[in-house]
Amino acid sequence: MRIKRDNRVVILVICIILICTVASLGFKTHGEVEEIVQEQFSEQQLLLARQAALGIASFAEERVTIIEILARDRSGDEITNLTRCFKTIYEKTSGFYSIEFIDRNGVVVYGYPEYRAPVGYDLYAENRSSAFDSARDSRKTNISRPTLLFEGGLGSFIWVPVYEGENFRGVILAIIRMSTITDRFLTPIMQNRTGYVYMIDNKGKSLFEGAGKKAIGKNYIKMLNKNSTSDGWLEILNEQMNGSEGTAVYHEEGEKSNLDQIVAFAPVRWRNQLWSVAISVPASEVDHLIRSVYARQMIFLGTVIAIILGGSLGLIMMFSRWNKTLEAEVKSKTADMIRMNKELVLTNERLKELDKLKSDFVSMVSHELKTPLAAMRTSAQVLNMRDAGEKTKREMLDIILRNIDRQTNLVNDLLDLSRIESGRMELKIGSVPLDSVIADSIESVKQAAMEKGIKLDVDLPEGISPVKGDREKLTQVITNLLTNAIKFTPRSGEISIKAHDLDGQVEVKVRDTGIGIAPEDLDMVFEKFYQVDSTSTREAGGTGLGLAICKGIIEAHNGRIWAESELGKGSTFIFWLPKWAGGKNG
């Protein structure tokens, strides 16, 4: 668990380092971006101003050129023809407010549109002939400073002299309203943008004012000198009046705002006229731009952080889940191993037990085999002695014969047992009548019972069911049980054998009045060599395998055998065998 927490801490630290790196990189680039944006912004404003200035200049120049061409071609023509052209020009070209013809005497003789032409207006009489005179004398187009029109608004007056050779015919006066120009070139610039456009002439007079201050026609310089709050702007205006172009920043202390203004300005050069277009935008606009860039950067940064955090979290989750599954797997595997280990230990113990049983059995067998051999050997050697008497010789021969029988019995029993234990015992299954089996068994133990004065009592009901089994093997079982009973029953004792039908089984009981078996030993009596190892019954003789063989045979017949006993009063061996269910065979 500690390692897992450490992992998380490491991943968290890595995340923080990554975030810090990204943030510091962002901060550094921010400074650079700020500079670049400001530069680019100023450049853009300047370009806009320049574009507008050029547009205005070329527009005005075009108008002048048209009028000049008209004036030049008029050689010999009637004035009527000339004036007819005015209509065409007015209608085909936009921008003219009115086109008028003034005769050589300085009187307006015709104009189009007619309602705008003050026909009969005498310049000399009104004392406004200076521009007319200048055009006539210089024989060149003269453009007057924008002046207020009768109808309101500023207008530019273009005076084009008309000569027929050396003969002066008059002057064509074309008026272009300033609003026509500014509506076309300046107003669209600031649409949907913060800031404003203004245009001044070389005297500082306002030709256009986008801020809506109603300053058109007034002089900025005079206005500024009056309140003299924006020294910076005054400098800029001076630059503009000089015909320079560029960008500059000034601080404006207005009533509602206290802002830096960025001004980009470009000159409009039109014949003898010098105007200057300026775009004034608050510096906050740059900040705004930067902020928008910033916002983008923040979004980017946020996304990056989110991805990093999300990724790390995902990784952590994945690892922890992986860890969990691994832990669970290790746990289950460990449990398996512990279980297997336990099983192994148990199996080992069982094997050890089996091994001990086996070696005990082997050592017992070897002891049991050696004992009669020892008796025979010693007896034989005694027989061989020269001074052995007749009686002794007989004794020795008896011993040898007895021990040969004993050895034979033991070997037979061992073989039987081996067959039983390895499942190789062959049973000749058939219908076995219990009465004849019991009679056979009694016949073979009668002698031994008689020798000990033991009474044998048989109690068999009439018509007891035959059992299913091997006659020879069952005879062996009953004989063994009887022999056993005789062995453990003292002289003048009693042995009874009883049988009766049960449901599907037949029960056989062999009861004796012998020494009995302790309750804790009841199950043990069927063990191999049990009585041999038990000191209290050593004198009874026998191979010690009889009961084990009985149990093996009965169980091979699908029956069961057990013992009941009261110590000192006698024992009863009981077995059940399945009834013969087949036809009348055997």
Partner: protein, 170 residues
């Protein structure tokens, strides 16, 4: 031959007066006349006395006959408890002790005899069909003087008996 206090007293009395009757001795020592007769008979038997302990009569009998032919005085016991009784009453010169005995096994009999000051000088030869080394070691450890496995060669057993007797002779 091993003697107890009563034996020594009887010997002393007979040394003083060889003509003393059993009756008089029994009276003096406060024991029965038959007991005196038995003791005198035992004392007068100068043969070496061997006690064979074995529950298998078929093993015991030929050995007994063979040793008797060698002029040993052979007595027998068929279980551990009888063996201890015989040792105390007969005081044999040597024990041939089987290991697998009813009531008390050979190891226990050997152990008890070797713990008792009155009997620990009696040499014991273990005689058994159990041939495993661990049994031999156990036998020797608890004080057996020799260990012979069945079936044995009679001549070898006799030789061993003589050797043990020589070694332990007072």
């Amino acid at each position: 031959m091993q003697l107890d206090d009563t034996d020594r007293k009887i010997v002393e009395m007979l040394q003083k007066n060889a003509m003393l009757s059993y009756d008089a001795i029994a009276e003096q020592l406060g024991i029965t006349e038959s007991e005196v007769e038995k003791r005198i008979k035992r004392l007068s038997d100068t043969r070496t006395k061997i006690l064979i302990v074995d529950d298998e009569l078929d093993t015991l009998l030929p050995l007994k006959r063979a040793l008797e032919m060698e002029d040993f005085n052979v007595i027998e016991a068929q279980d551990g408890v009888e063996a201890l009784e015989k040792v105390r009453s007969e005081i044999p010169d040597l024990l041939l002790l089987d290991l697998m005995l009813p009531k008390l096994n050979g190891f226990e009999v050997c152990q008890r005899l070797k713990k008792d000051d009155a009997t620990n000088s009696i040499p014991i030869i273990m005689l058994t069909a159990k041939g495993e080394t661990s049994d031999k070691i156990k036998g020797i450890e608890i004080g057996a003087d020799d260990y012979v496995t069945k079936p044995f060669d009679l001549a070898e057993l006799k030789a061993r008996i003589k050797a043990v007797l020589r070694r332990t002779a007072p």
